[in-house]
């Protein structure tokens, strides 16, 4: 819970806890505050660089939608397919998320018009804002709907990834939904609760080396106005951050703080992981498992040699597709959650403790984040890198109408990375497994030495997932 209204102690933080603050500062010693870097600060402090980036991405989105609707129907010759599913999707998984957390959210164009309407201005809130500003329903909070959105896209992925018009309609749908929700609900309801990419980015952002964090807690406690909260378009209160999953790195809180008490930190990878949180939220565990299931299915459909599976995934509405959809949902909603629950339960059955199963599942789900992130990167290596030459092709001829904007260039050959991609994929999967086991052990060790025994079934779960991915990618 990072929202102000969810924190009962917010007005009463004990300011005399000096010793505790010193400990907290020491705990954050491995951080570099980028907001204090002289040449970087003006770029963050000013709204303009970010606004220009967002206008650029908004223009790109409108262009992509237009090309998808009116350009060539052949996916590999259409800018919309190649740019969204090869260039952007690859950049998101290989650069934005692992090195910048939710940095894409800070320049994402989809919520932009809705936000301008909601606040009644472009750079700052205007006098007249549109919208009802209702609070998001409590029962719909969490990442349940984001998991649902990701599953929905997964069900039609074979068509979305290959049919330009469908890609455009998906983008239009997300765009309209974001605007509509901005006019009904307060803050960035779409980004926080519905956007599947937001859920994907937010979860794996916890493994990334970037965070927005307060510097001195007592300064925030003494500050009555809470200008950071007032400024945050996401409706978040930085004092309450437990991790980086919710923060969209928009930097509004840093700009608004009169005490300069917020930092944009460069931190060690995975700093949010391995902390025991008193939570019983299962939505994050489900999202993590949906990501594992999806990457397995996508690897089988798009990289595997099984033609019948590709046909089944592509022929939406057919009996074969119904079989594919049932299998996809069964794996993501029953089989993987079932095995994971059994693994957590099995571990705890052999140890005498008062740890509740729901709490253990919610806590141990953190170990799935590095496993999933590295699996997605490994999948992307062979899925997208070999097709990067198509990017040059669609820049040369975005609509597939025979134009030559960049002159006459040969873009017909695919890039052969077969020699090295298997090695890279193995290393990525192995690093993911090592990282995941370390996080899992750390979580258990925090509960006492005997508790590390609880990890044996989870270790088997993580190892089995890695072996399946190895078989799918290099087998």
């Amino acid at each position: 819970m990072t929202r102000l209204q969810g924190i009962p102690w917010v007005e009463g933080v004990a300011v005399e806890e000096k010793a505790a603050q010193v400990i907290k500062r020491r705990a954050h010693s491995k951080r570099l505050n980028l907001y204090r870097v002289p040449w970087l600060r003006p770029l963050i402090e000013s709204h303009w660089p970010q606004l220009l980036m967002r206008i650029f991405t908004l223009s790109g989105l409108v262009f992509t939608i237009a090309v998808g609707l009116f350009g060539s129907r052949v996916g590999s010759h259409n800018f919309a397919i190649i740019f969204v599913w090869i260039a952007w999707w690859t950049a998101l998984k290989l650069a934005f998320i692992p090195f910048g957390g939710r940095s894409w959210c800070s320049i994402c164009p989809i919520p932009l018009p809705g936000e301008w309407l909601q606040q009644g201005g472009i750079l700052q809130a205007g006098r007249r804002s549109l919208g009802l500003n209702l609070r998001w329903p409590k029962r719909l909070r969490g990442s349940w709907l984001q998991s649902g959105g990701f599953l929905l896209i997964g069900l039609i992925s074979a068509v979305t990834l290959t049919a330009p018009q469908v890609t455009s309609w998906v983008l239009i749908g997300l765009f309209v939904l974001a605007i509509g929700l901005s006019l009904v609900f307060e803050h960035r309801a779409f980004c926080s609760y519905l956007c599947p990419i937001g859920g994907f980015s937010g979860m794996y952002a916890q493994a990334s080396p970037v965070e927005v964090h307060i510097i001195e807690r007592e300064i925030c406690a003494q500050h009555k106005v809470k200008s950071c909260y007032q400024a945050c378009p996401w409706g978040l209160y930085p004092v309450a951050f437990q991790d980086s999953s919710a923060c969209g790195l928009c930097m509004e809180c840093l700009r608004a703080c009169p005490q300069d008490n917020l930092a944009l930190n460069l931190r060690p990878f995975g700093s949010d992981l391995g902390k025991n949180r008193n939570t019983t939220r299962l939505d994050e565990a489900l999202l993590a498992l949906v990501m594992l299931g999806s990457v397995m299915v996508f690897s089988a459909v798009f990289l595997g040699p099984w033609g019948w599976l590709k046909t089944a995934a592509f022929e939406i509405g057919s009996l074969r597709w119904a079989g594919y959809a049932s299998g996809f949902l069964l794996l993501n909603l029953i089989i993987l959650p079932g095995i994971f629950t059994l693994a957590v339960w099995g571990g705890h059955k052999f140890t005498s403790n008062g740890y509740k199963l729901k709490q253990a599942i919610a806590s141990q789900a953190q170990a799935l984040y590095p496993l999933g992130l590295m699996a997605w990167i490994a999948f992307t290596v062979s899925f997208a890198l070999s097709k990067l030459n198509f990017v040059l092709g669609v820049l040369n001829d975005p609509f597939g109408w025979g134009w030559h904007w960049l002159g006459s260039i040969d873009t017909s050959q695919t890039t052969s990375i077969a020699g090295i991609s298997s090695f890279i994929q193995i290393m990525l999967l192995v690093v993911g497994l090592f990282w995941s086991v370390s996080v899992s052990q750390k979580l258990s060790a925090a509960k006492g030495k005997a508790e590390s025994r609880t990890n044996a079934p989870l270790l088997v779960f993580n190892l089995l997932f890695t072996l399946v991915m190895l078989w799918l990618l290099v087998g």
Partner: protein, 133 residues
Amino acid sequence: MGLFILLFPFPASASVSNPRSFQIDAKRFAYAPAVIKVNKGDKVSIDLVATDVVHGLAIDGYNLEVTADPGKTAHLSFVADQAGSFRFHCTVTCGNMHPFMTGKLEVGQNTLMWRGAALAGLAAFAGVWKARK
């Protein structure tokens, strides 16, 4: 250690060069058979038959390519001198799922996958050991 496990050369088993022939039917995003297995050193001969539209076949790592017109057969032959698992894919835009029309050529044992599995086991052990330290 990881690189050692991945790259350490195993002694090659004695292989006999045999001629191997395959007919691969290419139709609507799929090859049949989609997986062909040969031994290292075999002389491989492939007849690619396109049964609906134009299809191609290129084998990653072998730098080989062939294209077959609808209803026609195209021929490809080579010596399987590299061991491992190699993807082959269609080279002619044949429909929406064309970029994902793939098959697999397995030459000898896929030791890379087993090395990867061994490395994964080692990584799991190292993760436990690191946390206990």
